[in-house]
């Protein structure tokens, strides 16, 4: 049911783990719905230099987490905000219909991490 690309990212997920002193952290989902994604980003000069994730979830949840961290690296914040769940799914050669919500989760986690980054920035600027 999963594409080869999904299976590759599921078996060999990229960017697993935490970033120490991240510039932004975002979480999406919750354990009762069966998937949680936690995304860490390191930003430099408005560019995402590094991204890591921790995920509790199904094969698609792990693969989309892996893929989204790959996709954001090197992108500016604005570019990263334009990464849609569909783009993540497409980059994985598609997802089964009932698993599309996992790509939504990835998009949400990324946006939460960016929001967190923006908030920290505002806070810092206001200090």
């Amino acid at each position: 049911m999963y594409s080869d690309k999904v299976m590759d990212h599921f078996q060999n997920p990229r960017n697993v783990g935490e970033i120490e002193n991240p510039d932004g952290v975002g979480t999406a989902g919750n354990p009762t719905c069966g998937d949680i994604m936690k995304l860490y980003i390191k930003v430099n000069d408005g560019k995402i230099m590094d991204a890591k994730f921790q995920t509790f979830g199904c094969g698609a949840a792990i693969a989309t987490s892996s893929m989204v961290t790959e996709m954001v690296k090197g992108k500016t914040i604005e570019e990263a905000l334009r990464i849609s769940n569909k783009a993540v799914a497409e980059a994985l050669d598609g997802l089964p219909p009932i698993k599309m919500h996992c790509s939504v989760l990835a998009e949400e986690a990324l946006q939460a991490a960016i929001n967190d980054y923006n908030e920290r920035l505002t806070k810092k600027n206001n200090e």
């Binding site: 069966g34 936690k38 949840a61 792990i62 009932i98």
Partner: protein
């Protein structure tokens, strides 16, 4: 790579002995059992013989066995058949909250059609208390349906006790014995049941064939109308090869039950102990003793079921996460929910169901490949002990 199939509760391979008995029905004794000439009579004889075997296996009379297309049809037939034939007496049905979807969805259908359904709770092991059944009965109750053994967690229900109570009340009693045949003794009189569903592919018979036991005198409506097959209770040209396969399979299942049960219990306990001893934060779901000899269902905390299942598949181990029938839903197991297993832990459940060909080497292999998978997934997980999960 080693292939270790541990999803026998989902389905079993058809026993080559069973296939061998079925084969002539396709190309030689291929007649329609309703016809009068020689190969028709041969086919009729073959299904009569199979019917006798099913009857003997469950302590019934041959004329009380109706062949169906599987466990799901048998459950539908039992519930709808009794409901619509007895609704003038009352429209209340009692069942449990851990039944298979074949029962639960049928109850949902009946609820839409004006029946009132009571879903009895279970204890933390998944057991339905017979006293709860007694208390739930009203003067409008026409049917009680409680499964003999649970397909997810393997818990064996006290059907005989429940049956006694239901019988005293003069109400029909159905049990879904789909997972029980060949695993534990099934006798319709000892169990005090009026209806009993079984499905061949769960005990090394072919898919697409099952049976419903209907105690003589039970008021039933047909689910499938048409020709006069199966004593006019179930129309349609009989699935002769399937029925012959079911007959052979149940004969083998019952005759080898004791021996297989012993071996399965030994291997199952080795698996259970191996997992509980070597992996932390894991719990066994279902009853520690009153469980099917081949079932071991665990919740591995902080990891999700499907990702374990896929990782095990990659190393040749086939297991399931919850009921196979529901793998395309995202809801966690209704059985674990009914047992009050916290939902995030229910998501981390994996069911291992052993079979007659499972070897000790298979179990050793699972015990070898499983811990690193759990470890890897836990390292990837944002959850861990002590963490407030509702982030």
């Amino acid at each position: 790579m080693r292939f270790v199939y541990l999803d026998h509760a989902a389905t079993t391979p058809t026993d080559p002995e069973v296939v061998k008995e079925m084969l002539p029905c396709f190309t030689e004794s291929f007649g329609n059992p309703s016809t009068l000439y020689k190969i028709g009579r041969e086919a009729k004889k073959a299904i009569t013989l199979a019917r006798d075997k099913v009857a003997v296996a469950i302590g019934a009379k041959s004329e009380e066995i109706i062949f169906t297309s599987g466990g799901t049809e048998s459950d539908n037939f039992a519930l709808k058949g009794v409901a619509f034939a007895n609704e003038q007496k009352g429209k209340h049905i009692i069942t449990s909250s851990v039944e298979h979807h074949a029962v639960l969805e049928t109850c949902k259908f009946l609820a839409k059609n004006g029946f009132e359904i009571t879903y009895l709770p279970v204890d933390k092991y998944g057991i339905v208390d017979p006293e709860d059944v007694r208390k739930a009965v009203t003067d409008k109750t026409i049917l009680v349906s409680v499964m003999q053994a649970n397909n997810e967690v393997g818990t064996i229900e006290p059907i005989a006790e429940t049956g006694k109570i239901v019988k005293e009340k003069g109400i029909y009693f159905h049990t879904d014995a789909v997972q029980a045949i060949g695993a534990v003794p099934v006798n319709v009189n000892d169990l005090n049941v009026d209806l009993l569903a079984l499905s061949a592919h769960k005990f090394y018979g072919p898919k697409g064939v099952g049976a419903l036991y209907i105690r003589k005198g039970t008021r039933m409506m047909s689910l499938i109308n048409g020709g006069h097959q199966e004593r006019r209770r179930r129309a349609g040209t009989e699935n002769v090869p399937g029925i012959v396969g079911l007959g052979k399979a149940i004969e083998l299942a019952v005759s080898k039950m004791e021996e297989r049960s012993k071996q399965l219990t030994f291997l199952r306990d080795k698996l259970i102990n191996g997992i509980l001893d070597n992996i932390e934060n894991v719990r066994l779901n279902g009853h520690p003793e009153k469980r099917l000899p081949n079932n071991a269902n665990f919740s591995f905390e902080f990891v999700e079921g499907e990702s374990m299942l896929l990782n095990l598949d990659l190393v040749g181990v086939a297991v399931s996460s919850g009921s196979a029938c529901t793998s395309d839903t995202l809801e966690p197991s209704h059985v674990l929910s009914a047992m009050k297993v916290p939902i995030e832990i229910a998501h981390g459940s994996v069911r291992f169901t052993l079979g007659k060909n499972t070897t000790e080497e298979d179990i050793d292999y699972v015990l070898e490949v499983l811990p690193p998978i759990i470890k890897k997934l836990r390292q990837m997980s944002p959850l861990r002990e002590g963490l407030d999960l509702n982030v």
